[in-house]
Structure formats: C-alpha cells, structure tokens
Symmetry: C2
Subunit: 478 residues, 2 copies
C-alpha cells in the first residue's frame, strides 16, 4: 500500500480509545455488539464508544449517534455497518482526523458482484486520497493481548513470541488458542481479509520489527505485490522464521478463496519456488502449523538431521523409525561408545538396544532417561532426540507407580538440552480419557518449555522443518 | 505352515481350559503372572491352571508342578518360561496330546544370536514333527472378547466387526482400544510375533471365514510365504477389506523389525505392487489405520469420488477444499437445482453458497442440515459428504444454546444416509478441555454409527480409501 510506516501501524495494537460504529440493539448477534461485549469482558482498559443513532445506551455505556459527536478523536474505529454505508463512515473518519480503521463488514469483492467490487474500489480510493490506514474489509482485525484488545472472544490471550498475519479470522483465532495450549503466547495477530488497503507486507514488516516476536505465522490466500513479498519474506526469515499456510493451493481451494476474501490464489508451483528460495516454512494444515511453530519457537538449531528415538514396544519402535525416515530425517546408528553403554543397560529379550531404543524403563525412571540423554548429547552421530512417552494404562500390566513427569522435567531441565529434544505422547485415539490425559501431559511438558507432540510422525515432521530452516540459514551465512 | 485347518485354529479363541507355564511367585511382573491376573480380572469363565514346580498356590488357585500333573488336557497352553526351556515344554505338550500353544517368551531369532536362532529352529522342528499349533514365540497371542480371553489387560473388549492379525502386541492392543472408542469392537485379534510355526496366512484364513468379521486389520513386519499371501489377500479382500500397516517400510524400520520379530522386511516397492494388485488398503500409522477401518466398517460404497463439504468459516472452507483435493477426492460444483436451493438459504455476505458450503447454521439447526442433506443426496454430482462440526466455544460469540447433537443424530438417522456421510470435529489442539469435548463428540457420533474424524484431512483420506476399495472391487466385478 502507501507509505505506512511501522509506527503508524503500532497504534492498531495499542489503542487508548475505540469507537464501534454499528452496535445493534436487541437480541445478541455477531458484529458491533459482540465486539463491544468481548472488549468489556476482557476488561479493555481504554475508552469504549458504541455508536448507534437510535440508542442512548448500549452495554451499559453511553451511545453516540455518530463519530462527530464523540468527546475525543478515537485511536481506533471498528466499522460494522452494512457494506453500502462503509464509504460514508470512512469519509467521516477522514474529516475528523481518524486514521486507524478496521472494517469488519463483509459484502465486497469476495461476493463477485459488481456492487461489491465497486464498494471495495471506493474504500481503496478514499483511503488513498485521505491517507487512511484501513484493515479489511471482511475481517476480524487486530488482536493484542498486552493491550487487552481481544475482541474476538479469544481465550484471554497471553502475550508471547508469536506474531500472526492472516486472511482468515477463524483460523487466526484457532491458532492463538492452539499455540497458547502449547505454552506459546501471541504478541500480535491481525486478520486482514480482503487487503483492500493494508496488506500482508505491511503487517509482516510490523511483526519483523517487534522485538517480542520471534516466530511469524502467516495464513495467506493471496498476495497483493508478489515481488515485494518475496524480498521481504526472504529478508525477515533470516532472523525470524516465517511459517506459511497457503490457503487455496488446489483449484477448489482457490475458488473458495475467491468467495472468501476475493483473492486470486496464484499457482502452487510459484509458491513452491518462493518457499524454496526464501527458506520460509510451508505447512498445509492447522496441526502442521502449530507443530512447526512449537519447534521453531522452543528449540536450538540442530547440527544435522540425525535423530535418536527412544520409547517402548518393538512394533512402536519399527513405526518410529519408519516415520522419521519418511519425514526426511536420518536415524543413524549411535557411535560405538554409545552402543556399548546402551547394551549394558538394555536386556537382551523383549527390548532393543539401538536407534530406535526400545526400552520402556525411560518412562518411569527419570535418572535412567538422564543417563541415556547424557550418552546421546555427547554422541556426534546424534543431532536431535524424540522421546516417545506412552501414557501408562492397564495394558502395560504395571502396578500403580508415582507420576514420573515432574522428575522427568527436572532431569531434562538440568541437562539444558543442548540438542533439540522433544516428546511424543500417543493420544490420538477417540478415547476421551486418553485424549484428556494425553493433552494434559503434552500441556505439562510444553509449559516447561519442552515441545510435546501427539504422534511421533508429527514430532519428526516438525524436527525436519526445524532442520531445514536452520540449514538454509547457515548456508546463507545468516 | 503345515495343513492347519481353520477349525483347528478356532480353539485358540475359545478355550475352555488354559494352563500357564511359568507363573512366578513374589513381586508382580510381566509374564505368566500378569496373564493369570488379567484372565482372573476379566472373569475368564473356563478353568485356569498356573504351573510352577515351587508353588502350591498362585493367585488363589491351586498351582501344579508341570503339565503332566493337570487333571485334564487343557485346550490352550501359554508358555512363559525362559527361552531355553521352551523346547522341553513343547515336547511335554506333544506327549500329553496338547496341540494349542502360545509362546509368550522372547529371546529367539529376533536377538540375532546363534543361540536364539537355534532355539527357534528347534521350536519349528518339534511343532512340525508332532503336529503342534504354535503361536509365536515372542508375542501376546490370541485375544477374544466373546470368550473373555482378554489376557492383555485390554479394555474389557466388546466383540464387533474387526479382526486383527499382527506381529506387534502393543500395536494390536492399542488398535483394539482405539477402534472400540470409535464404536467398533474386535471379534478376534492375534499377535503372532516371530511366526515360527503359524503365520499371517493361517490367521488371515481364519478371520476370512469368521462371519462376525467384516474388516481385517493387519500389522506385518514380514511375510513368510509371499506367493501364498498375495493370492490369499487378493481373494479375501474381494469380500472383506484388508487394511495393512506394513512396519519396516524404510531401511531403519526394517532393521528395527529384525530386532523386534527377526523379520526380513522386503523392499517397499514389492509391497506397493502388492497393494496395487490385490486392492488391499495400505496405511502408515495408527491414526490412518483406525480412520480407514472406521470408514470401511460403517459406510456404504460410494458411486464416485465427488465429496460435498459443509462447515463454517471462510478460511476453514478454503482449507477443506484443499485437503480433499490433496487426498485425491473431487469437490465438484453442485448441480444447478442444488445451487439454486442453496443460494436461497445462504446469505450473500459472511457465508459462501457452493462446495464447500460455508454456512455455520448447519451446526445448530438440525432441520436445516437435513434440508441440505436432502439436496446433496439427490444430486448426481455428489457421492459423499463431510460435515465439519466446529465445537461451540466462546470464539463464535454465540449465546448459550441447547446441544444440537442428539437432534442432529436423529435427523441423519432418519435419512438413512444413502451416501457415505461423515463428520469432522476439529479438536487436535493441545487444549485438554477441547480435546476431551472433541473426543466425546466424536464418540457420541461414532456410537450412533456415524463416523467422525478429528480433522477434515483425515476424513478426506479415509473417504479416498473407501472409494479406492470399492472402485477396485467394482472393476473386478466382485
């Protein structure tokens, strides 16, 4: 877009006063009313101005008939009126000196109607002419837990190392929740919809400059300026990994994207070239996105792609080896001194000394796990570690034993984990009890800063991406 | 193996008396003692004979010094003594006319030692000479809920349409649990380890002949007789789908498999040819296995691969379309009469009429869902249906509404679902509350006979496999 400086955009994420144009009276419904209510629930500390010419009070606050009647010039205006009324509101903003505007309203280019396209063109030309900063239309706008600007009804967000730039509100919302459940807060997120004015590059620059943000997640259906995006992504990715979910990568997805944000999704092979040349990380689903972010936010750079896998069960060990290789990792034979030490502690029958290590004792005996980790952290053949942590259940014929997790976490923390070390916790079954216990165990490990995945395959894929990112960076001398 | 008839093998799964050779005294540990205890916990209705020459009583039962001292010839002997003592036990069995023997003991070919290989060769030659039917060694043996033979400490199994033939005990156990959580019981399972005597073909024939079994799951690290397996699998798969997880498909997996069951995993391309030519269904993980079984056990044959997807959220709809195409399905444009009817009920802004259908009203309004289903069930362009059911949360700004699931289930049941119809329930995040509610919702739908998957991608992959299976069968005129 136009020359919007980063400082210009910061105010979207820390407004002291917010006006919501178009808060309806009567029964609850999505729109201005839900935004007002959610900001109140989140105890937004700034001033809130609901606007409706036919109301005196809304949500316990004084209502105003229009922006001109407000006692101050608000830092942010959220526009929720019908599409055909949006240009008028923008003109009113321009007259009053309001520059920061988020347009929630849908019904523009994405409808593929002449009326919708024309309305969007008017938004763009008003913004250009008057120097307005507009997020949207057709989007959920900015999200900023540190400013308690969590108008999406999110889990009351904790700030953290993640920045999100997205063309989908629901997907952004879900990622903030998902990442937080893995112990990773979101410093800033923006859902920017049709990108009529401000676009992905504007927000990418903003996230790149924010010292709190360490990993940037993007959900894109389209890019407004491919050349600018290519160069910017390449440059930013050198210091902050960018994980990109490109929606509309197939023909059907692309057609749906056109109906969603009016986006023209370009061909997938162009995107593949972009991922290859910029070193940015492509993902294809919410799970892959969260998995990669977790690894990139928490783990040190691996020296190579040799992974050591430990867990229990012969069949499981076979499957772990297959999964790692399929994801592009190596599962190297440990060095002779490591093998010698392992053989001493692993019984001949019913377990397997090697890589993968089939030795269920690592689940219950934190000190033993620590001994094995000492071996593999010193072994030059090994670059990363996956510990497959089965959830103790009746099946294992075990007597009741104390929960080994707190001691396991202490043991791992005491090693400082110089090589990327993650857990996998098999809990994908439909069994609600197992799903809950598995999620709780994952959360416990993640909260301690140790990434935990719900399947070995997913752990392996995330580590493969971690390795790819750092190998690219090293090769470019970054 | 030798000519073991199906009737010969049935007794393994319905024994009236079981002797366990090698039940230790003292502290609880895995082996004969855990098998005895689990059979008692499961209220095994037959007679149980623990054997230990140095005990008078074990687990509240009279103990016997050896098989020869028993008051009857037991239907099944479970051998849990050290590897070097196993040949002697087999010879005692032969003398007493006992033919059905399961050898739990490990320490044979899989150790890659000369001693282990020789011991396994002796087991094989004794069995051949004396006509013994031996499962194992190095395995968990038979599992049969209808006979209360659930000595693995399983969830007290319910019988159902699944049969499992597997070289891994832990993986088999996990699948019985997993499938049951999806509403699918297991009629028979067998973990057969090193396959020294009875092998995958013997058990596949048994499962094929069991009228209760409708879908057969196999976990294989090796095949003893490739030619026999190829022809048998091709024939059985014509009437009962066989879903095969081949462990050791990569070089590392294969090396681990050798240490696990002494298997020589053959090259992956041979397996690919087998899957292609037999029409059997290959999977690569526990989740894929359970997902495919759920579809094959519950859904009718689709006419083609055109899927209709409905759910809420524009970004979600883009992702759903991408996921289905990536899994090899089509996402066709509905026929004109369907589109016309959809347009009438879908608002222009904020929703998308089409395929995918972005219309969150289907979550809450069962009657409306029913109307949409009537349209797509009559539409010749549509062969299958995925309903993406978001779990209501704060994010959706919804007021508290009654749980629509019971009415939704009634509505779907009333339609008799003539085309394969499944749900996806996004609950993959680490959030324990969401994981539990998602699993509970999946379980509720699955218990009603409606397959529900934890992600659209997984639903799409399972439907692609369902289509592939039936297309193969139709092409062969089966």
């Amino acid at each position: 877009m136009m020359a919007a400086g980063r400082n210009d955009l910061e105010r979207f994420f820390d407004p002291k006063s917010v006006a919501i144009v178009g808060v309806s009276k009567g029964a609850f419904r999505f729109g201005g009313m839900s935004f007002l209510r959610k900001l109140q629930e989140a105890a937004f500390p700034g001033r809130l101005y609901p606007i409706n010419p036919r109301a005196a009070e809304l949500g316990g606050l004084r209502a105003y008939p229009d922006l001109s009647s407000l006692p101050e010039v608000p830092d942010l205006v959220i526009v929720c009126v019908a599409a055909r009324m949006v240009p008028g509101v923008l003109e009113e903003c321009a007259r009053l000196g309001i520059r920061h505007i988020h347009v929630l309203t849908a019904g523009f280019r994405e409808t593929a109607t002449e009326e919708g396209r024309e309305l969007e063109a008017r938004i763009r030309s008003i913004a250009r002419e008057k120097g307005l900063l507009v997020i949207g239309p057709n989007c959920m706008g900015p999200y900023s837990p540190s400013a308690r600007l969590t108008s999406w009804g999110a889990i009351p967000g904790e700030s953290g190392p993640l920045g999100i730039v997205s063309q989908s509100g629901a997907i952004t919302q879900r990622l903030t929740e998902y990442a937080l459940s893995l112990g990773i807060g979101t410093a800033k997120a923006v859902s920017f919809g049709n990108a009529a004015v401000l676009d992905e590059c504007d927000f990418l620059e903003l996230m790149a400059a924010d010292p709190k943000i360490e990993v940037i997640a993007m959900y894109l259906e389209s890019v407004q300026d491919g050349r600018r995006f290519f160069h910017l992504a390449k440059q930013v990715n050198r210091t902050k990994p960018i994980v990109i979910w490109k929606g509309g990568e197939t023909e059907v997805g692309a057609a749906t994207a056109a109906s969603h944000t009016g986006a023209m999704s370009s061909e997938w092979r162009i995107w593949e070239a972009l991922f290859r040349q910029t070193g940015t990380t492509p993902v294809h689903s919410m799970d892959e996105w969260a998995d990669a972010i977790l690894a990139l936010a928490r783990l040190p750079a691996p020296n190579g792609k040799g992974v050591f896998v430990m867990g229990g069960g012969g069949g499981n060990s076979v499957a772990h080896g297959d999964a790692c290789i399929r994801e592009g990792l190596d599962v190297p034979r440990p060095s002779p001194p490591t093998m010698e030490s392992l053989r001493k502690s692993v019984p001949m029958a019913g377990s397997i000394a090697g890589n993968p290590l089939d030795m269920s004792r690592v689940f219950q005996d934190a000190a033993y796990l620590g001994e094995v980790l000492d071996l593999v952290y010193q072994d030059p053949a090994i670059d990363m570690v996956i510990i497959d942590r089965l959830i103790p259940r009746k099946i294992y014929h075990l007597p009741d034993l104390p929960d080994p997790t707190p001691e396991t976490i202490r043991e791992l923390k005491s090693k400082a984990m110089p090589k990327p070390t993650v857990f996998s916790v098999d809990s994908g079954g439909g069994d609600p009890d197992l799903a809950e216990r598995g999620a709780a165990l994952r959360a416990q490990l993640c909260a301690a800063g140790i990434p935990a995945y719900p399947a070995t395959r997913r752990a392996a894929r995330a580590l493969a991406r971690l390795h790819r990112y750092h190998a690219f960076r090293r090769a470019r001398g970054a």
